[in-house]
Amino acid sequence: MPNTIHIPTPLRPFTDKQESVQVSGGTVGELLADLTKKYDGLRKHLYTDEGKLRNFVNVYLNDEDIRYLQREATPVKPGDSLSIVPSVAGGANDGRDVPPKPQAKADRWRLA
């Protein structure tokens, strides 16, 4: 029995607009590997160049965050589902503005 991975809105353009994808494997890592094998364009958004899951990529096995299980080594059972939940975060200047501007130093944000 295959497993289902739920795809968040910003990544659906890379899965032919599918909201969920059927995958196979014995662990969370294997399911994600099967997903990126099917949809290679997802790889750079899910993984760093070193092959680690990006910081903002959260993965839930059913309703549990895999960081509190065995991360990508977490075993999966037939019928389990994964959800990719992007961590939406950001914020003002940390001294490394992009794109760089010559006057960046002058308007660097300071603690009040």
Partner: protein
Amino acid sequence: MALTISLAVDTAIRAHGAETYPNECCGALYGANGVVSDTFALPNVTEEGPRRRFRISDKDYMKTERRASELGAELLGFYHSHPDHPARPSQYDLDHALPTFSYIIVSVRGGSAEDMTSWRLRDDRSAFDPEDLAVAAPENSHA
């Protein structure tokens, strides 16, 4: 790329930024075909200092996806404020950016919302590209 926001959306984002000043505000953008028609203000749950960071909880993110279905609209992206800082993305914004989303940033200085800009992540994740941001005139306006 270009993004159009309604006057109500423009007002809502600016008001949210002023309301949470000197902390950052954040929220979701909904609409279709590059037109933002609705916002959803969300709590900033960052643990890194809300004056220069924002984070949306996983539960709230899941809520934003569900709300899109309820509205019959697309989740087009997110907005946040930069208190006393230009409406320009930081490296931290880039590190956390998602493809295909629009990111609206409003600069709030001394409690007043000023510049508002919108950005999209480049395909290779190397940078943000600015996108034109326009405020649609109300339908009943007589220009």
